[in-house]
Symmetry: C2
Subunit: 834 residues, 2 copies
Amino acid sequence: MTFAELPEDPLNRFRFPVDEWRLVETRPSTSDLGVTESLFAVGNGYLGMRGNPEEGRDAHTHGTYINGFHETWPISHAEAAYGLATTGQTIVNAPDTKIMKIYVDDEPLIISIADLVEYERILDFRDGILYRDLVWRTPSGKRVRVRTTRMVSFTDRHLAVMTVELTMLRGSAPVVISSQILNRQDLSDEYRTSEAVPGVGFDPRQASAFEHRVLEPALQWRTPRRMTLGYRCANSRMTIAVGADHELVTDNPYEVRYSLEQDLAKQVFRITAQEGVPVRLTKTVAYHTSRSVPVAELSDRVRRTLDRVRVDGVEKVHAAQRAWLDEYWERSDVRIERQPHLQQATRWCLFHLAQAAARADQHGIAAKGVTGSGYEGHYFWDTEIYVVPFLAYTNPVMARNALRFRVSLLDAARRRAAEMSLRGALYPWRTINGEEASAYYAAGTAQYHIDGDIAFALCTYAEVTGDREFMLNDGVLVLIETARMWADLGFWRNNGEPEFHIHGVTGPDEYTTVVNNNLFTNLMARANLRSAAAVVRELRERNPRRYAEICADLELDEQEVEDWERCADGMVIPFDETLGIHPQAEHFLDRELWDLDNTPADKRPLLLHYHPLVIYRFQVLKQADVVLALFLHGDEFTPEEKRADFEYYDPITTGDSSLSAVVQSIMAAEVGYPGLALHYFREGLFVDLIDLHGNAADGVHIASAGGVWNVLTHGFGGLRNRSGVITFDPRLPVQWEALEFPLQVRSTRFVVRVEQESISFAHVEGPEVEVVVRGTAVTVAPGDPVVVPLDGHGRRDTWRPSVASLVGDQRADGSRLRAEVPPHAGAWHAPFGD
Amino acid sequence: MTFAELPEDPLNRFRFPVDEWRLVETRPSTSDLGVTESLFAVGNGYLGMRGNPEEGRDAHTHGTYINGFHETWPISHAEAAYGLATTGQTIVNAPDTKIMKIYVDDEPLIISIADLVEYERILDFRDGILYRDLVWRTPSGKRVRVRTTRMVSFTDRHLAVMTVELTMLRGSAPVVISSQILNRQDLSDEYRTSEAVPGVGFDPRQASAFEHRVLEPALQWRTPRRMTLGYRCANSRMTIAVGADHELVTDNPYEVRYSLEQDLAKQVFRITAQEGVPVRLTKTVAYHTSRSVPVAELSDRVRRTLDRVRVDGVEKVHAAQRAWLDEYWERSDVRIERQPHLQQATRWCLFHLAQAAARADQHGIAAKGVTGSGYEGHYFWDTEIYVVPFLAYTNPVMARNALRFRVSLLDAARRRAAEMSLRGALYPWRTINGEEASAYYAAGTAQYHIDGDIAFALCTYAEVTGDREFMLNDGVLVLIETARMWADLGFWRNNGEPEFHIHGVTGPDEYTTVVNNNLFTNLMARANLRSAAAVVRELRERNPRRYAEICADLELDEQEVEDWERCADGMVIPFDETLGIHPQAEHFLDRELWDLDNTPADKRPLLLHYHPLVIYRFQVLKQADVVLALFLHGDEFTPEEKRADFEYYDPITTGDSSLSAVVQSIMAAEVGYPGLALHYFREGLFVDLIDLHGNAADGVHIASAGGVWNVLTHGFGGLRNRSGVITFDPRLPVQWEALEFPLQVRSTRFVVRVEQESISFAHVEGPEVEVVVRGTAVTVAPGDPVVVPLDGHGRRDTWRPSVASLVGDQRADGSRLRAEVPPHAGAWHAPFGD
């Protein structure tokens, strides 16, 4: 499969018809169970449930996840060394409340073998409910309609509501509905079976299986209407209580049986179902978790959550969900006019962003949200670079929560810095509880840029929202301690004049590790140092008392702040005069070029087929690195440099990381490759919907979903934040008529509409605000939209030179040059469906 | 502790008196049990027994090791990646036959609590026997003399002989001697307890404990005089049989009891011992092991070994041992006149070299020989670089065996190269069975120089011994496949003219990993490529048939051989014009200098106190790297370059590896720092005797022992092999009167004697041979020694500039320069006895 082979609309539309507000599946399949479990997952950022069928059978992973609810385990290193991560952290598969098994004439409903007359599974982005509607011709020839719904509440994060509506359409029959809470997390085998990487035998992207029983039973309790189970994690000592209420409404006669065991609570409804007489079962469940609160108290909280719903009724919960989403869409929806297939996929991404971030509250936003155990439920830089900007412009409260979470980890980051013989704070590359959990330092701890990423997100949030109070109270602490880290990590060298160098780091590209002066890292560090100095100065000015307090607490003085500025000013930024490009790191261009053209498809992604030492000695990228810097720090580069850098790196970027395509799309749009920009946009947009990376079964790629919003607003909309000044230089694809998206800047909300000939701004609420379109200031104020005419959407090239011709014989003599990388040869990977 | 504090004679001479031919301990101690177990170990390169007391109690590690007898286990990586080593290999602690417990009046003899009137433990280098002689005042006031001997035979590698001679000196008493074969290898806890690194909690230099039962019982068998146990390793399926014969001679009445269990065979002698009537028990034991032969057959082999001794008598075994050692010393002894303390330590090293190498036969020579489980019994480059040269000049058969072992691993090395996406063969960095066992690639697999080291040893052996037959039949295969690996690993770059670069490798210094164009590696690769080409050409000339056969087998053609020469000629050799030194690797000099001066003693060795990422970003060395290249490829450097390189690297070399001191000693002698040369010589000489690295308990540092011979002959004797021409340029320490050592060159043996005013050569046997003294040819022939007058021993400086002054402000501005490393600040570590 090559570049050209990603179709304009890659989904199988017979099975998944186009629908702008819903993801609809019209026939079930066991061939991609894991993928559709992720696609149809429901969650609210705290509680997530995979799209498993209510009957419980036929699953890739029966998954219920609670953000931050994790077990710890000692990491065993094959060869130990000082300071390697020691505490593994893995999200726990929480007790499963999704199960409502259905039997008709004592025959179980099992989707994969049932004779289905009708079938539809629908995830509705407007009401936040997963629907399933089917008609089953039973083995004895009867027909029964089964409608189910499943909802995880955005307004009450502990709450989920499920319903089953069952009607015998033809014939009467004894019907059984067995509603359960099942603790199955110890059945660890299933985690190991990936659909993704046949024949490879390992996949570092998956969660590891536990070798011990994780959830120790601590409580079992029931009343005729309610059942509750409680557990404590064996190592982490985290606690959980899960309860379920039931309400059966029917005119059919029925009886109820109960059973309560350590790992299984059941409420079994035995119904004598008459033809045409419906049965409706409502199951309300609540999950409460804690780091330390006893299970008995959590059980009380469960009771209170369930009592409230019992009083208010499920309809109120459904209505609140709809209202919450109405506001979410008003703040967040991006409209691509007359592109319904792209519109649907875009909304699916935005809906999953809500599901990942809405109620993360005091937790982080995991790489897979709460849709799967991929990457063990860890938080990475994905949050700060790919998700927080979206939240800052649309849902500032969520952005603030995500950043407050990092503030809460500051002490742990200080301890980690000390372990790494550094001053200040070093955030872990991956973590749940704040401790470094990356067991492979070269592509983990060495990514010191995490500190700069967090600082970048803090500044973006504060500049876009104008929330100086958060910055000056809490954010400043993070900026100070991360700036300290950089000042200590780097050192001065004298090349003619003193330069500040940062050695032994890994940038975003994980196919190039432990290098000196990684461009991305140095730029992020420079910005971090400068913003720390600026914010400290602002604090001294605006709140001398708080300033004095911080100086005393952190032993900070003006001398140190000046030192940060000197480090920033002296920061070395590698540039190659001959090629006119920025090397990804010092000496990166000395490396041999990887021959991507002659790397067969079955050797992709590279990380699963080549020893790290092999990959590391070549010029080959897992993901955008310099190109990400071009985006995040665009003002540090001339347009010519951006174009040259993009042209150099794009063909040697494999895209083996899902974080790559969206960034390449934005920069392709900016530097003038609109076709490529659209291609990469589709790669990001459909990464899970067509399982482009072969691991959608492990959960939804939340960063890529955030990247999709970034492509639409920043790539095609041309949005940039320049130290609080909001600017636009649109790049609307020639195939599109209009693109529309709302933004909140400070306390002003407005809608941006990009068309081929103009960009316009429609004020929604708040005081007037100034934005800049291609250098011209535009005031957005109440009243009619301001329309700014455009003369096109930037330079548009379709041809790009190959790396080989750029390289010429400065780089290698012809006889040994391995790679003549053609354009786009590196852009494809893990094809879906062939 | 600083440089000056390593005393001239650092041993505690009250406890270990000077004795030129023996290591003598005059009082026992439990404070350094593990160290003395290693120091007093006996072995023959196949079978080794630590110096545990016969009574079995009070041990750091009860150790019996058989070269190559190992268990395998799956290496579990905290984060998996393609091609990481998967099969762990760990030497097995074999069933213990050393145990002969002694009871008098039913009171056990336990050295640590016994009231000892006399005590001596002696390892005699001339007869190869470990003696212990003590008089015990028993709790009831009686006195008994106990004399024991323990010997592992150099002439029959499966055989060990132990004796107990016991006499009641005052009083009569019931005496019991319980002689055992005890399988205790599953008691893995004891392996974890290191005396070495208190408070650190891990030490990558130690063997890991097994988590499963390793030796599965397969045979138990006994007769009245003999008992045998047999086992099979659970995973590796290797087999072992161990048998013991007993002979009791006494005029006292006695009876014998037997017991035979799966893990314990006992023969218990109950003696009514009369005052003055001696008891003599002789225990003869045999060990046979195999990769696949059934235990029953091994048991037959045990029987045959024991039967032969029963017929011949133990005296004959002792005599053969003495005769073998007489020849060994004639071939290998190095005499330092009038320096008895150095003489003793030197002979201890040479004796342990015999014990490590003599009967390794088809196995490798492990880092710890057969004296401990340190480094899991693995074979490293230590053999080729530190031991084979010694063997080639003194005991060519042993050198040939060691190299034949590498030939036997060629297929495994080919498979490993394929895994690493390389042509040819890549030898594992550490292994027992030929598979890579290094679980940490950065300081393991990345040391590709292992291929060059093996090629170097092959060429050294062939040039010194003249054994072209081995080279042209077997060695050539290794040279071809290793040359192929280099040609594929490197690549051509065009810097003005085409250069051959090798990226992503680790040199000998493990504090600097995964770098480009490591000087040592590139020099070893170049020599490897050239010698491969030369030997293939020689073969074509001398044995066209074999040449044709190899060309067909290996798809080799003249084109490829020419390509090797082109790669060698184009090989880039980094050099810094400003400093006039060779960077250890490209861009090494860009790094920050480690502040060794301000690194406290309790932070040494660095690897146990700093994260690898911290260590790796500094200029700081674990061990000689460029300096080793200066020694091995001296003709590639001018004298000025050698001196400048040595002066640059020596102060930033921590010596945290025991492989460092001996190399620094040789080069210090050559470039004119005689005081430093002697200091480093003593560091190497006493590394185990005073436990300089804190891990002598894990076994004897065999490479360092080999290095001691290298310092004496090459460092002070000034010996070099220049493509088969043997040259001398001595550097006798001014404190020494004379140094004398035998050499064999081709089939000629002669003795070299270096004095302050002359060097002389005394022919021993074989045809006349030419050597070169400082450019002048000297013929060594039968008759009187040839005496060549010398005008001193090279340049002699005592002052050295610090790195900081060398570096100047080309390197860093004053305000940020961390290190002003004083001379020798890096030379000390892990002090003993304070």
